[in-house]
Each structure stands twice: as structure tokens, then as C-alpha cells.
Amino acid sequence: EPEVTQTPSHQVTQMGQEVILRCVPISNHLYFYWYRQILGQKVEFLVSFYNNEISEKSEIFDDQFSVERPDGSNFTLKIRSTKLEDSAMYFCASSKDRGRAFFGQGTRLTVV
């Protein structure tokens, strides 16, 4: 079964540094998402992306965050200046039709 792949599986970064989380969505999917889960909390929506632009973003997705689909296959999430509270599991997801999103394995981001 096709799957969403994310790299790296674990990223440790110093506070204030930039990080880029990478995702390869399922090839025939058109809608792309980033979610995150802080340890012990619920999975939270960050941003959705369609047709090379953001279609919706949450309050969490402030100016420090950006997304890009640079080459038609990768989908990246950039955090410009990481904060301690950005430490979380970040999940990329993609979907072809309504609702049913397929999730990647996640990237554990640890900001120290």
C-alpha cells in the first residue's frame, strides 16, 4: 500500500535554529497537511495545502512556520527560529478525497 514518508525520524535542534521537516506524500494525492502532537496531548492541525498554496492554517501556524512543495513530490515544513515549545511529533498527511487522510510515521522534533 502506498504510504507517506517523513524524514528525519528524529531531529534535535538548538533553540533559535531553523529546521526543515520533509515529507513525500502519496503520489496521486492532491491535499497535503501538517499536524503535530505535543507529548500527552491531542493531534493538532497546523496547515493544509492545495494547488501550491495554503488553504487553511491554525493559530499555531504563525510567521515562524512556512510550507513549501519545492519539486512536485516533496512537501516541507520549515520552522525559522525554533522555540522549546515547538518540541513535538510532527505528522505529514495527504489525501485524495474528503476526510480520509493518510499519515506519515512522524518526525520527533526536540528543541534544546
Binding site: 491535499y31 491531542k42 489525501s95 474528503r98 487522510a101 510515521q105 512522524g106
Partner: protein
């Protein structure tokens, strides 16, 4: 604003018995509800969904029931197996038009099935 609530953080059942996971929601505009299962160190995996115009959907051992008047849905797993032990997330989806299909998740319920 908790649009989707899973009030039981954990549930423990014996193998072979029924597991019932509950979910309440406040957003009456949700079009679909989905259940995802999540193992540690993995992403959520889709389990089963139900349209807001239905009251039941069944897939093998998994059945989801929707009570719109009570804004409540439940996932039944019968018979429960040890491999079902995972965190189960309830999610709502609202087609607000355009190109956004975001999911709103509950906090999850940790199901433990004891052999």
C-alpha cells in the same frame, strides 16, 4: 475550543470481549467522522469512518455508531484482540468548501486489551 471530546483517557478490556470507545462533539457541521488508531512511534492509521447522514457503519470487527441528536459516536470492537491495544482517536471533518479537508481530533483513548 474542544470540538471533539474523548472523555476517557484509557480503557482496559479482556481479550474476546467488546471494547466501546466513546466520542462527543460540539460542531454540528461535521460531515464525516473518522476513527484513527495509533501505535507508539507511528503515525495515525485510518480505521473506519461514518457519514453524518448515517447512524451505523460496520467493517469486520469494527462498528461505528453515530447519534446525531446526542452529538455522540462510539466505536465498537468485537471481539477485542491484544493487537488492538493502541491509542484511538476520534476525528471530525467539515467540508467548508474550497480545498480544505482538515480533521479535528479528540485527545485519544488508550485501549489495552489483556490476554
Amino acid at each position: 475550543d474542544q470540538q471533539v471530546k474523548q472523555n476517557s483517557p484509557s480503557l482496559s478490556v479482556q481479550e474476546g470481549r467488546i471494547s466501546i470507545l466513546n466520542c462527543d462533539y460540539t460542531n454540528s457541521m461535521f460531515d464525516y467522522f473518522l476513527w484513527y488508531k495509533k501505535y507508539p512511534a507511528e503515525g495515525p492509521t485510518f480505521l473506519i469512518s461514518i457519514s453524518s447522514i448515517k447512524d451505523k457503519n460496520e467493517d469486520g470487527r469494527f462498528t461505528v455508531f453515530l447519534n446525531k441528536s446526542a452529538k455522540h459516536l462510539s466505536l465498537h470492537i468485537v471481539p477485542s484482540q491484544p493487537g488492538d491495544s493502541a491509542v484511538y482517536f476520534c476525528a471530525g471533518f467539515q467540508n467548508s468548501g474550497g480545498s480544505n479537508y482538515k480533521l479535528t481530533f479528540g485527545k485519544g483513548t488508550l485501549l489495552t486489551v489483556n490476554p
